[in-house]
């Protein structure tokens, strides 16, 4: 019995949740998973799941999986937000709110971690997968199996974070886990380890995706599509991929060093014994700042597509827009110190980084002007994606003003780590990243499913998000100026903060209403799909190549790889009334499905769990499993299959028939 227990490392019965809130969360998670298993079994869909989704290497399917997981994580992160607002609206004076200090601290740490890594990155990679191959006129990404592996690693990271809700605890050190607080001495539990390893695993997946999409765009554009003829969304993906490649190795190193401190007793960041906690702060933000631009640049790319399409006009200032993307990408690596002006680096250093930070506002502002002038003298159709965009313009600009303010170091001294800061970055991330990706999902949904989402519910959702956001975060700007620091689980009544926290709580409820409308929108649209199904390949009168395929898109994307001669290739094709190809079909070779990605990620998950709980046998098995999976995969001989030309012809003919039926 004793040796069995020691085999389990630090894991024992006490790892299960103690307090009601965590128990509730864990129970709903477990029940949700059980429900999924029951449904799959009842409808006898296991084989289908394995064949169509778990082993797929089709970027379109991988993209959908990313987005589904990301949206689920949005619900979890949102639940965290609701709990935080409830706590801060009620924990005043003698009352101590609904959560214990420790639970509250885990909740906000989980909130930030989940929103950035699993919602933001998930939605982003989802859109990369869905859209990039289509927009560059290609059939696939450069490395399909690597692509699948990236997704499953992301899922493994997500699984670890969620597992911490059921077994063990999560980090209580914030979404970036500064030492010495995150060192073993001050965080002796497994929380920080869960944080480290879920991010490490997901981060490797992200790095691989950065490489993958970079090579895809550089090497696989269709004939005639020079770089300066690509849709701007692809430019945003290209610049983002470069940023990922330079930034994510830094994260890998930083997480490793913290893990080495905690697991092997090293002294990189410990207080004492020659550790330097400031080094961690520098490293983590050298990754962290580019990361937020990684999240937002593709959202800018989405806006560029949406504004041009819905204004029925070509994007204004294409060259300038490309230049702005490149400028932002480069500058984003030169500003990281602005996250810790208050750490005492001295006036010269602070001022330098402050100036570099302000410079980024210039290309960002340029983009807003170019979008406005795309709309100018256009014919604007205010479908819901445009509502998201309009909300973005107003909110992002205001948030940007706050950002420029904080770029001046002495101003930052007064608002650093206050709710003013929290309001600023939520403004940028929500109105920039989230609005952008949600708009993108609405915009491109019909391409992959053959029917549009219910527009009325979509507009309600957008408005709720916009109004809810203003109510939820407007007060936070003021609270910051009132001296409210972030991450407080309690404050005295004399501060006079409670009213504003209550307003903020109402705001979050309205955002929640917006989320409810979106869920309703999905539900209603899918329920009514037979009536709404029109298979229209081009429901929004698009301009770029993805609209040149049938809806839903066949597995091979294009029966014949397109050849283009200018920007907005599809728009040009429509102007010249270029008919779709209906002869000369060829055999198409595509990569076969494989469980390699799933296996690698599964073993990585096991290894991560092993390290966290000091179950060394599991770590060894996991590590060997990853290695073996890679080696075995590399021995695979026949990794492609062929779709005969006749079948391609049949698929295309059927698609054409469906379109005219609608």
């Amino acid at each position: 019995m004793n040796s069995f227990a020691s085999l389990l490392g630090k894991l024992d019965i006490h790892a299960l949740p103690h307090d009601k809130i965590t128990q509730g969360g864990a129970a709903s998670l477990v029940l949700g998973m059980v429900a999924v298993v029951v449904l799959l079994t009842y409808f006898k869909r296991w084989k289908w799941l394995y064949r169509e989704w778990l082993t797929t290497v089709d970027p379109k399917k991988i993209g959908i999986m990313y987005i589904v997981v990301a949206l689920l994580m949005l619900l979890r992160g949102g639940a965290d937000a609701l709990m935080m607002r409830a706590q801060q609206a009620t924990s005043v004076g003698a009352a101590h709110g609904v959560l214990s200090s420790d639970t509250f601290q885990q909740v906000f740490s989980a909130h930030g971690t989940i929103m950035i890594f699993f919602v933001g990155m998930g939605l982003m990679f989802g859109l990369f997968n869905l859209i990039v191959p289509l927009q560059i006129g290609s059939r696939d990404v450069a490395f399909p199996v690597l692509n699948a592996t990236s997704f499953w690693l992301y899922a493994a990271g997500m699984a670890l974070v969620n597992l911490s809700l059921v077994v063990g605890e999560f980090s209580a050190a914030g979404w970036l886990a500064y030492p010495p607080l995150s060192e073993l001495k001050y965080s002796p539990g497994v929380g920080v380890d869960y944080w480290i390893w879920s991010l490490q695993i997901a981060g490797i997946g992200s790095l691989m995706s950065g490489i993958n999409f970079f090579v895809t765009i550089v090497k696989m554009r269709c004939k005639g599509m020079d770089l300066m003829k690509m849709p701007l969304f692809c430019w945003s993906v290209l610049t983002t991929s470069v940023m990922i490649m330079f930034a994510f190795p830094i994260l890998t190193v930083t997480l490793t060093l913290l893990a080495l401190d905690r697991t092997l007793g090293m002294h990189f960041f410990t207080a004492g014994a020659g550790g330097n906690a400031m080094m961690y702060v520098n490293l983590i933000w050298a990754w962290g700042h580019p990361e937020v631009y990684i999240l937002v640049l593709p959202a800018f790319g989405v806006y560029s597509e949406i504004v041009a399409t819905f204004s029925r006009k070509s994007l204004f200032g294409y060259k300038s827009m490309v230049g702005a993307l490149a400028a932002i990408a480069i500058l984003s690596f030169t500003v990281w110190l602005h996250h810790f002006f208050t750490m005492g680096a001295g006036a010269d250093v602070n001022a330098f980084f402050g100036i570099m930070t302000m410079l980024i506002a210039v290309p960002t502002g340029v983009k807003i002007f170019n979008w406005l002038f795309t709309m100018y003298q256009g014919r604007i159709h205010f479908a819901s994606p445009m509502i998201w965009f309009m909300g973005f313009v107003f909110l992002f600009t205001l948030g940007g003003v706050a950002g420029v303010m904080m770029a001046v170091p002495p101003i930052d001294f007064q608002v650093h780590n206050s709710l003013f800061l929290v309001a600023h970055f939520h403004t940028m991330i929500i109105s920039g990243v989230i609005f952008g990706y949600l708009a993108g999902i609405t915009y491109w949904f019909p391409k992959f499913f053959g029917f549009k989402l219910n527009e009325r519910l979509g507009k309600y959702a957008a408005w709720c998000w916009i109004v809810g956001f203003i109510l939820a975060f407007g007060p936070l700007y003021i609270l910051g100026l009132m001296g409210a620091t972030r991450r407080l689980d309690h404050y005295s009544a004399a501060m006079g903060w409670q009213q504003l926290f209550i307003v903020a709580g109402i705001g979050v409820l309205i955002i929640g209403l917006g989320v409810f409308f979106q869920l309703l929108q999905f539900g209603v649209s899918i329920w009514q799909r037979k009536a709404r199904l029109d298979y229209a390949p081009d429901p929004w009168r698009g301009r770029t190549l993805e609209w040149a395929t049938p809806s839903p898109v066949p597995v091979y994307n294009f029966a014949k790889l397109p050849e283009v001669s200018g920007r907005d290739a599809f728009w040009a094709m429509k102007q010249t009334k270029q008919a779709a190809a209906d002869k000369d079909f060829m055999d198409i070779r595509l990569p076969k499905n494989t469980p390699a990605g799933l296996l690698v990620a599964g073993f990585a998950f096991a290894a991560g769990f092993g390290i966290i709980w000091h179950i060394w046998a599991l770590l060894v098995i996991g590590g060997l499993g990853v290695l073996s999976s890679i080696i075995i995969r590399s021995t695979a001989e026949r990794t492609e299959y062929t779709i005969p030309a006749k079948q391609v012809e049949r698929i295309e003919t059927e698609a054409r028939a469906r379109e005219s039926y609608a």
């Binding site: 204004f316 200032g317 406005l372 709309m375 170091p409 002495p410 001294f413 009132m482």
Partner: protein, 295 residues
């Protein structure tokens, strides 16, 4: 309705207690002026952007058939030059301001008040309270720092725990406190009053309770306060300090007489010492020694 909302907000801004906008210290004043300047400069861009957005969205909506439709017009050297250049110039101005003010308001820069001797206060952030040592007055206090008005204060700060941030928004900006390192902050209050202070960097379970009071008093009252502290029966020797350093939540204000000379310096230095030596006993948990069995 929007106007009513705006009016409510503005009214609120002027009546509520908003220390950053109603500073009681010379540094805070300058920081507030910087904020206003930055906002005004940004408005040069923001107001036209908002106006244009509303105008363009309204005029060029598809139901307005009278508006000109020019689908091919997609570039203009002139416009690009304007909207690259003007923000660049504004940022240029703000950069000069940032450079100058970063030096002028450097927390490490001592404040001058002619004829007034500065007050030295040493600050140690502990779990989860603030210790203030007055080396020249030979007293120490927990969670309350008092000083005479119009007197430059030289804060010297460190942490005997994790990173914290010392922040009294009514007086001016914050500075991090870090174990094994000492930082500085120079503030001066220009009106009497009692102000809230907190830690602005999460430091663990009891972090929210790490609030303290900063009191700007007349010279006389300050003298009286020092006397009260001196009369405390507790002296801050090594043993007493060790007891204080134990983790505790929501500490009440307390006073110590005769803090051990060099106490602050020892707290900083002990993190530089090899683990086995040092004049202070090691902190309550051994640093980074996980079980290695089974590895």
């Amino acid at each position: 309705m929007a106007a009513a909302l705006l009016a409510t907000i503005i009214h609120y801004l002027f009546t509520a207690n908003i220390p950053v906008l109603q500073p009681a210290g010379v540094i805070g004043q300058k920081e507030k002026h910087l904020m206003i300047l930055a906002i005004l400069l940004c408005l040069i861009v923001v107001l036209p952007v908002f106006t244009m957005t509303i105008f363009i969205a309204w005029k060029y909506r598809e139901s307005n058939h009278k508006a000109k439709y020019n689908p091919e017009w997609d570039h203009s050297r002139l416009f690009e030059t304007v909207w690259w250049a003007i923000p660049f110039i504004i940022i240029g101005i703000l950069s000069v301001v940032a450079w100058r003010s970063s030096h002028d308001l450097d927390p490490f820069k001592a404040l001058a008040a002619p004829g007034v001797k500065p007050l030295n206060i040493q600050v140690v952030s502990l779990d989860w309270k603030w210790l203030f040592i007055y080396p020249d007055q030979h007293v120490a206090s927990v969670n309350r720092v008092e000083f005479p008005v119009n007197t430059p204060i030289n804060f010297e700060l460190t942490s005997d725990s994790v990173m914290n941030s010392f922040w009294v928004p009514a007086l001016g900006g914050q500075i991090y406190t870090m174990p094994g390192m000492s930082t500085q902050l120079h503030l001066m209050s220009d009106r009497l009053g009692s102000y809230n202070g907190s830690s602005a960097n999460i430091s663990g379970n009891g972090f929210a309770g790490m609030t303290f009071t900063a009191v700007s008093a007349t010279g006389e009252n300050f003298g009286r306060w020092i006397k009260t502290a001196k009369n405390s029966s507790k002296s801050l020797d090594t043993v007493a300090y060790q007891a204080l350093a134990e983790p505790s939540h929501d500490n009440q204000v307390s006073y110590y007489s005769s803090p051990q000379p060099g106490l602050f310096e020892n707290v900083v230095m002990k993190y530089m010492m090899p683990e086995m030596s040092g004049s202070l006993p090691p902190s309550h948990m051994m640093d980074g020694m996980p079980g290695m069995a089974g590895m």
